[in-house]
Amino acid sequence: MISPVPIHLMSISLVLADAMDWSPVRISLETSVTATLITLAIGLAAAAWRERRRGPAAALVDGIFLLPLVLPPTVVGFLLLLLFGRNGPFGQLLLKLGTTVVFSWPATVIAAAVVSFPLMYLTARAALEQVDSRFLEAARTLGASEWRVFREIALPLAWPGVLAGTILSFARALGEFGATLMLAGNIPGRTATIPIAIYFAVESDDMTRAFAWCAVDVAISLVLLAGLYHWTRAQGRARWMRR
């Protein structure tokens, strides 16, 4: 059983100060940033693709895309383990290339990206759908290719929504626990992210360390929110938004 431990700010700072091992912060940030970049690219592409499709096939694809949002992370993690494990289709493929991802750093990225993907996809799609189609049509009559229409008209106009999706995805990636544990395990210095470090600290009754990691997580989240706040305000003042 976990016994309540008196927590003093002093002891937290001591832990942080002599926590030789800052690796969970580094791993968490590296994982979240990488996962968010991948999610941004794939989520945008998927949203742009989906915006032009109608019908049952597109609805089915929607269902698959949104599955990680409704499934428990452990289920997602288990399914990923089946796909990327030694006997899974992706695992077999990677084995042929002489590598494996399970219980390695890339596994944390895969887990975080898959779990945060639906948030990016949904917000990006909503943002793109909000763009007045007359702007896109005007661009087409002016000779612009579909890629140029997307890059120069649709994306800039949808940008505030896409950015919101990016931040949601980053937050979700930062907090990912269940799927990461299933696919990447807890290897200190390689796959142990902050949430996993917290879990194992609590499990080994090291409440001070758990609190310390929680404090770090809160700090990162606050910085993120503050950055978002200032960025949106700056956007609000900028350029065509003014007046």
Binding site: R134, F135, A138, R140, T141, L142, G143, L157, W240
Partner: protein, 362 residues
């Protein structure tokens, strides 16, 4: 230079089925809201796909459903001016216009941008954003942008409807100036009769997706081919009619016989007269000789409505109006003329001149 259009497309409430050819003079497309005017322009620009048909611009086939040709909008080189202009809100005026000059080298781009802004009188606010412009300025920028691709045809969707009244005549003059320079197939969609007449040389009247009339504007206004076209070109007074002889019809709803100038090629189903063609035989003037005495009837005023310079009189023929406010004719006269007979005792004598009467087959 010509644009040949022949398309059909099923819409939720009716079918659009239109064919016409436009030359170098502006073609006004007149029709009520929901007649398919905007859809027609969108089909020509390539933003909508007709179910079947063929579009040819200066010998270039843009659409041929039989031959499976569908040139995408970006390759049609057709300038489209949207009803609310659709200027890119995240780009400045210069960036909006330059969007169509994408493929040019920088110095050439600057030169053309300046020329376009000069041509459309849009100089001086290049670095502003669309929401910082007035409606008239937005319109000029949108026109400059539409012309930037050197379009082979120009389509304008209600170009003046988003403007305040006092701006319209000014913008209209600029449009006319542009048309004068441009000399390429130009289609101008509007639901405003006077706009269509002033800006178009040719006129196409669209009603529920079909061409109700197509030809020289003067001819269509003088001799509308049907009741529908007469209504759509602003005629307010109609009566069912039955031919009595070659130059005489019985106006059933107006309860009178009318001498007509046109010979009846086909049996007229309706007779109509435009509100401003209704004349009044002034009591002071002596009864004139000859045909001027044709079609004069006693009438009573049922009610009236004023605009700054003109007055609309709602008239009941043959007898004083009842309580229900019904009327036979609505006449529009200048107030100066109205002042001359407003105080004379009723009945007044209304004159429906034979050469003003429209004979309308079904």
């Amino acid at each position: 230079m010509s644009l040949q259009v022949q398309i059909a497309k099923q819409l939720p409430n009716f079918g659009l089925d239109v064919s016409f050819t436009a030359g170098e003079t502006p073609l006004g497309i007149l029709g009520p809201s929901g007649a398919g005017k905007t859809m027609l322009l969108r089909c020509i620009a390539g933003l909508e796909q007709p179910d079947r048909g063929r579009i040819e611009l200066n010998g270039r086939v843009l659409l041929d459903t039989a031959g499976r040709v569908r040139v995408p909008a970006r390759e049609r080189r057709i300038g489209l001016l949207f009803q609310h202009y659709a200027l890119f809100p995240n780009r400045t005026v210069a960036e909006n216009v330059a969007f169509g000059l994408h493929n040019l080298p920088d110095d050439e781009k600057m030169r053309k941008l300046a020329a376009l802004l000069d041509q459309t009188h849009a100089r001086g606010f290049e670095s502003r954003y669309p929401r910082e412009l007035s409606g008239g300025e937005q319109q000029r920028v949108a026109l400059a942008r539409a012309l930037s691709i050197e379009p082979e045809a120009l389509l304008l969707d209600e170009p003046l409807s988003a403007l305040d009244t006092h701006l319209r005549s000014q913008v209209e003059a600029q449009l006319q100036e542009t048309f004068g320079v441009y000399r390429r197939p130009t289609l101008l969609v509007t639901h405003n009769i006077e706009e269509a007449y002033r800006l178009g040389e040719q006129l196409l009247v669209l009603a529920r997706g079909r061409v109700a009339a197509f030809g020289a504007k003067g001819e269509i206004f003088r001799h509308p081919p049907s009741l529908e076209v007469a209504q759509l070109t602003g005629c307010k007074n109609f009566s069912r009619a039955r031919a009595i002889s070659d130059h005489l019809v019985d106006a059933l709803d107006w309860g009178c016989q009318l001498r007509v100038a046109q010979t009846l090629a086909r049996p007229a189903a309706h007779v109509g007269i435009r509100a401003h063609h209704i004349d009044f035989a002034e009591p002071s003037s002596a009864p004139a000789a000859g045909s001027n005495n044709d079609n004069i009837f006693p009438c009573w005023l049922a009610r009236s409505s004023e605009t700054p310079f003109r007055i609309t009189l709602y008239l009941q023929l043959h007898r004083p109006p009842g309580e229900s406010g019904e009327y036979h004719l609505q006449a529009e006269v200048f107030k100066e003329k109205w002042e001359r007979f407003r105080d004379t005792p009723q009945p007044w004598r209304v004159r429906l001149a034979p050469d003003s009467l429209l004979l309308l087959p079904d």
